[in-house]
């Protein structure tokens, strides 16, 4: 059984009197342990697709399911706790790196969960080659690459079932991007899956590749993803 399923996803909206339909009747699934790349030209609706999967887009219609359970069985907050969307632009709040990593535990949806302790956070930081960055450091002083990794770690620390990564390596240099790819591979366990938008050449981390173009989704050959 697929870990995550999207059936008949359609997004349409009007802007300034003009109708747009970025994609229409899209269906796909993600299996446990899978990393899937989503590619396509700019404006083809890749980010909208990820937002729709996280129930962050009001104009989306279609069916979503996690482990066979329909998304309507979950509240929006509970769904987003399990299906975690990481936006392209890393968002940091005023405070330390620790404050940023623990932000999700300040929300009601995790009121019964214990936040990770400093030891766990430090080991995560090590995994992301951020071992030399103190948890007490002011997040505003981090570089772009460090911010992107902290935002990614924050999502990984919440241990969702599905990661939706919206070109999180877009603003990074090649080394940092490689580091983020490796981190993603390392942290995607057997019980999770990841759909990530990428514009860079394949990094060999993905198991499958989808192309979104002209409102439809196509699966590319695995070989292309394994280059």
């Amino acid at each position: 059984m697929a870990l995550f399923e999207a059936r008949g996803l359609t997004v349409s909206y009007r802007r300034n009197g003009i109708s747009f339909k970025p994609f229409d009747d899209i269906s796909f699934e993600l299996l446990e342990g899978q990393i899937v790349d989503l590619v396509g030209p700019s404006g083809s609706g890749k980010s909208s697709l990820l937002c729709a999967c996280a129930r962050l887009l009001p104009e989306a219609i279609g069916t979503l399911a996690l482990k066979g359970v329909d998304s309507s069985s979950f509240s929006a907050e509970e769904w987003r706790r399990l299906i975690c969307y990481v936006p392209q632009k890393p968002t940091v709040i005023a405070g330390t790196v620790r404050d940023n990593l623990l932000l999700p535990w300040s929300f009601r949806v995790r009121r019964n969960d214990n936040p990770p302790n400093d030891k766990t956070l430090c080991s995560l930081m090590d995994e992301a080659s951020l071992g030399d960055v103190s948890l007490d450091r002011d997040a505003a002083q981090l570089s772009g690459g460090e911010l992107a990794r902290v935002a990614l770690l924050r999502a990984f620390a919440t241990k969702p079932d599905v990661f939706l990564l919206d070109e999180v390596e877009a603003a990074l240099d090649n080394d940092s991007a490689r580091s983020v790819s490796n981190l993603t591979r390392k942290l995607i366990g057997n019980n999770t899956a990841c759909l990530r938008i990428r514009h860079r050449p394949p990094d060999g981390v993905a198991d499958k590749m989808f192309r979104l173009e002209n409102g439809k989704i196509f699966q590319l050959e695995c070989a292309e993803a394994r280059i």
Binding site: R14, R55, P58, A76, E78, P87, L103, F107
Partner: protein, 265 residues
């Protein structure tokens, strides 16, 4: 108290309109295109205040609780309309929230003052309740407009952050909370600034009026302190109520954030 009041004759009153020539000359010299607005504001000021004077004369003479309540509701409706008019950009459908916040906060505080501090008898004594409510309403409408404006502009500026919060599982309120906090702080600032400046920089309106009407300055000062405190309380209640209800207008019921790009404005 009337003994000390110096009446203003109608020729002098209309002559005072010449003061508006200062604004008119500035508007003309700097080509501000405000001439029409200056004329309208002046005419409205005359008509509305004289109408209010006539209404109060009638109210004081034939006052009954329902008539006073009707006047207070009318004043609250006008305050709501003015507050919404001051919000920049497209006003959302927040009329009920604004009216509820302004009306309830102002009336609760005004009635507490009338009953517990001024000890007016009867409680609906128009000579006490109407001017006190008017002062509270005037201040709450300004603070409410400032707070709403700040709330929505801050939420728009924080679009990316709000999306990130929601994506991490926050509720709508949790995502909007930093903006709510900023809006409440900005709404409170004018009232606190007025309190700090009163007695040093300015003699506030009510105290000035009472002194001009021949009242003992100490009595006038005590009234003014009560007024400033009640204005502060009503303002706080109103902006807290409006901020904690109006933020929802930027979200769908399913917790999707309606960013500027999605609102099609």
């Amino acid at each position: 108290m009337d003994a000390g009041v110096i009446d203003i004759g109608y020729p002098e009153l209309f002559g005072a309109a010449a003061f508006m020539l200062v604004a008119a000359v500035v508007a003309w010299a700097l080509r501000l295109r405000q001439t029409k607005a200056i004329v309208i504001a002046t005419v409205r000021c005359f008509l509305q205040l004289l109408a209010m004077g006539l209404l109060l004369v009638y109210l004081f003479k034939y006052q009954s609780w329902w008539l006073v309540c009707l006047v207070l509701i009318g004043m609250s409706l006008a305050a709501t309309q003015i507050a919404l008019g001051r919000i920049k950009g497209k006003a959302l459908n927040i009329w009920p929230e604004v009216f509820g916040s302004i009306f309830l906060s102002s009336m609760i505080v005004a009635l507490i003052v009338v009953e517990a501090i001024v000890h007016a008898s009867p409680w609906y004594d128009a000579r006490v309740l109407v001017p006190i409510s008017g002062m509270v309403l005037g201040n709450t409408l300004s603070a409410t407009a400032v707070a709403i404006d700040r709330l929505f502009s801050d939420m728009d500026a924080r679009s990316d952050e709000i999306m990130a919060y929601l994506a991490l599982g926050s509720t709508r309120r949790e995502a909007a909370f930093p903006s709510i906090r900023a809006a409440i702080a900005s709404g409170l600032t004018p009232a606190l600034a007025t309190m700090s400046a009163s007695g040093i920089v300015q003699i506030p309106g009510m105290m000035s009026g009472q002194v001009l009407a021949g009242a003992d300055p100490m009595i006038a000062a005590k009234y003014q302190i009560v007024v400033l405190l009640m204005v502060s309380a009503a303002t706080t209640l109103a902006i807290v109520a409006i901020c904690f209800t109006a933020y929802r207008k930027r979200f769908t019921s399913d917790g999707c954030f309606l960013s500027p790009a999605l609102r099609n404005e």
